[in-house]
Amino acid sequence: MMSIAAPSVANSISRATAMDYGPEIEAEIACVQALIEADETLTAIYNPRWLAITLLEGDAELETRVANSPCGPAILAQLELAADHISATLGEDIDILIADRRYQFVADLVHSTVTRPQSISTRSDQIDQIVTHPWLGVPIFLVLMWFVFQMTANVSGIYLNWVDSIISGPVTRWVVALLDMIGLEGSWFEFLVVDGVIAGAGGMLVFVPVLAFLYFFLALLEDTGYMARAAFVMDRFMQILGLHGKSFIPLLVGFGCSVPGIYATRTLEDRRDRILTGLLVPFMSCSARLPVYVVIGTAFLGRNSGNLVFAMYLVGVLIAILSGLLFRRTIFKRTEELPFVMELPPFRRPSFKTIGHQVWERTTGFVRSVWTVIMFASIVVWVLLNVPYKNGKPPELENSLFGGLSRTLSPVFAPAGFDNWEAAGALVTGLVAKEVVISTMGQVYGVEQAEAQIEPESTSFVADLEEIVNGFGTATLDTVKATISLLPGINLLKEEEQTDNTALQAELRHHFTPLAAVAFSVFVLLYTPCMATIGAIRHEFGSRWMWFSILYMLTVAWIGATLTYQIGSLLGFS
């Protein structure tokens, strides 16, 4: 820049902005500079003053080069003397002082040339004063999350019913008609497709609207910059509880998926902190568990289903905090807590393109899992539900291999109120992935219903399309009504719209009491995470901690579900 300016201007700027490091440092610079100027091999390449300053700052590479020059030893000796002298007289390392003077010089220059407005408090700063307030921050976070879960469970539930009606109606009819057309009518393959794939994996696609709503609101909070504030606020809250505040970021990631949550523990420098946080991450309710709460919530609690979802997330956080406190006092004695400084981005208007991209990525990730892991699990469950074959007929579900294994396990859950074999079997398959709990339930509870529908109804393709489009219109209208109905004292939904459940939800009401259903949700929330998470724990912390996590979570889940059911019963709930 200076080289292209006119010489006179450049000189005046140079004089006006001459860098002065103060008398003590300037004296040391002069001494070193004098020695450098005596060495032609150095002056031929470097500006003597620049080299003197850089050497005093401790540039190791230049020191090596200078050491090989004729005056090198003398220069290095002088550098050592200068460092000792400055440290003794100014009480600070010379390199830090040089850098400090430079920052001071720049700050003075900016101060003298830049005029700033009197008030630098932006709207973002004003919002920050409120949302990161020591007392208001946590309640604001909780209120926002409550709203997110209300929208997710209550409002999106209407689209859930619409998608369910498409899958169990037109889609099933089209598939059956197609299979009949190619001569597979009444074959085992038709039962596999209808009872296995459609009832299991297809039943999971019902939850696409629910997850899309959740991802939309999380992306909205993230894109506006609020999630960074949430991490900051919760960090402080956890420190108050005596836990590592930094752990909250992996825990926050765990709300989406436990696997990256486990890997996010890498941001913690202490191995013990990493293991402790890794053990807590699976307690954060990942999005795969959401369908379970939504199904149970809408089946048993109607308009209050959002409260159940919110309560499950809170219970997860609470159990993680209690477990953290327990571990801190037992196997992981507290290490020194190091607070952090966080650079919060300013609040900004959300970009709906970015949000749309995030929702698409996350939702398609879920759909991919439906057609891979969940479909595979559904087929395995279907096979287990249909063996042993006797006299050319599949067994009664209860007497199938799946039913037999599940019945063996079901008494364990009697104290928690859900000792039916279907629930026990669904929990076992949930070890593959949490969504499989619902797909299995769709199979074991929905088989009879699917069998009833296997005879295609005599509707035309056009009539089916009309049904789908009309259903979408009705669902959209009801969604608007449900959103307005979130306001206190307003209820625009009719009674039948509030209790309009899927076939699976209707079946669940026959097999569970409301209290047992809540206890089941607690168990799903707290029990051993999916295989991918178990693998991540093993990869990061080793087999021993993996087994510890599995057993600890199973124990906590059983105790949590049993306490929920027993205390609820004592309080008169059923």
Partner: protein, 98 residues
């Protein structure tokens, strides 16, 4: 002897009892936000402060490191513990059974 501004920045990290926002620290120290940011970077280069970003990609579900579930947390700065300056960011796979 006077404490240098750079040293005051490091001291603020050492003496902090709770996590703090960068803009609040800037006001507390009376240092312009941009200058404070570069001063922190100075200590990062010296190895006294550690910058933490998003080190969460797990690549287990084949989305090429672009995990849709990872929330993009902003930059955080942590004081490096004196006793463990060689802090391990990536776990040692050989120390699993410790």
């Amino acid at each position: 002897m006077t404490t240098s501004t750079l040293r005051r920045v490091l001291q603020a990290f050492e003496e902090a009892e709770t996590s703090i926002r960068l803009d609040v620290l800037s006001r507390q120290l009376g240092i312009d936000l941009g200058t404070l940011d570069s001063m922190i970077q100075y200590w990062v280069r010296k190895g006294c402060i550690r910058e933490v970003g998003d080190e969460t990609e797990c690549n287990t579900c084949g989305v090429n490191g672009e995990c849709p579930f990872v929330m993009r947390c902003p930059r955080r700065y942590l004081l490096v513990r004196r006793s463990s300056e060689e802090s391990v960011l990536v776990p040692d796979v050989n120390s699993h059974e410790q």
